[in-house]
Amino acid sequence: MKLSDYISEDRVILDADVESAEDVLKQMCSAMECCGTVCAADDLYRKVREREELGSTGIGEGVAVPHIHTEANAMSVAVLVTRNPIDFDAIDGKPCRLFFLVVSPDERRAEYLQLMATVSALIHHSELRNRLMEARDPGEVIQAIREAEEKAACSAR
């Protein structure tokens, strides 16, 4: 499974001038509505917030992977890089700058688990994290992810 298959440029938000975790999630949910993954950003935001209340999806090293399965039209990932670090109550206590929102239709739970595992494992590598945080346009983000995936695939050959 490739993360790059689930991201498109219209779901990549760079240099986001946000001040709170709520702003981050709202912007990402709006991107999901704009590209047609879900019908209502507000509804998606409410569900993502409910999930965050069970425990932060900040997985450490400045990264958070909010996620939800819901009445979505497709499995999609949105990426958001903030201008400044945001307190996301991450498990390591560090603020986050890099966010991946994973949204999946309810009936695709197995793929959903695999996609989150793929995102979390890929982003563990600092080289990719740095490239994403320094990217100047959405195309660069997708290219960096593709190259990281290619590198992982090459080492597997």
């Binding site: 999930r51 069970l54 595992a117 979390s120 494992a121």
Partner: protein, 141 residues
């Protein structure tokens, strides 16, 4: 008061069974679960000889498998309305678990009887060490 239960997720099907036992406990105690997996570097070293794969590739596979089980446990907890956070680290399981218990100030440690793929951690040895160094209940599930 029990605030946090560290549930060791071993990247194996036993993780699910352990979660089935620990989630109701967490709900009853109104505790948060810290689902924790260690990517065992010693497994990667050993497996490279047997599998013909390189160490990096094996580590990537173990990382992905670990996250998959962590997210599976998270789904189970979420369905029961139990608070949960996930954490994965790389290293030697025994040391990392001890480190995590202290770092996250867990009140209870729950560990599945089987351990990481290919190189079972000596649970008995771990429990002995945990009793000596941690003043907390240890559940073997």
């Amino acid at each position: 008061m029990t605030n946090r239960i560290l549930l060791v997720v071993s990247g194996s099907p036993e993780s699910k069974r352990a979660a089935e036992l620990v989630i109701p406990l967490a709900r009853a105690l109104n505790s948060q679960i810290i689902a924790f997996n260690v990517v065992d570097v010693s497994v990667a070293r050993r497996m490279r000889h047997a599998s013909g794969k390189n160490e990096h590739e094996i580590l990537v596979e173990l990382e992905e498998t670990g996250w998959k089980y962590l997210y599976l446990v998270e789904e189970m907890a979420k369905d029961e309305g139990v608070r949960i956070v996930l954490q994965q680290m790389e290293g030697f399981p025994e040391n990392k678990i001890m480190e995590a218990v202290k770092k996250f100030n867990a009140d209870i440690v729950a560990i599945p009887i089987s351990s990481t793929r290919g190189a079972a951690m000596d649970v008995g040895k771990f429990v002995g060490r945990a009793f000596r160094e941690l003043n907390r209940p240890i559940l073997i599930v």
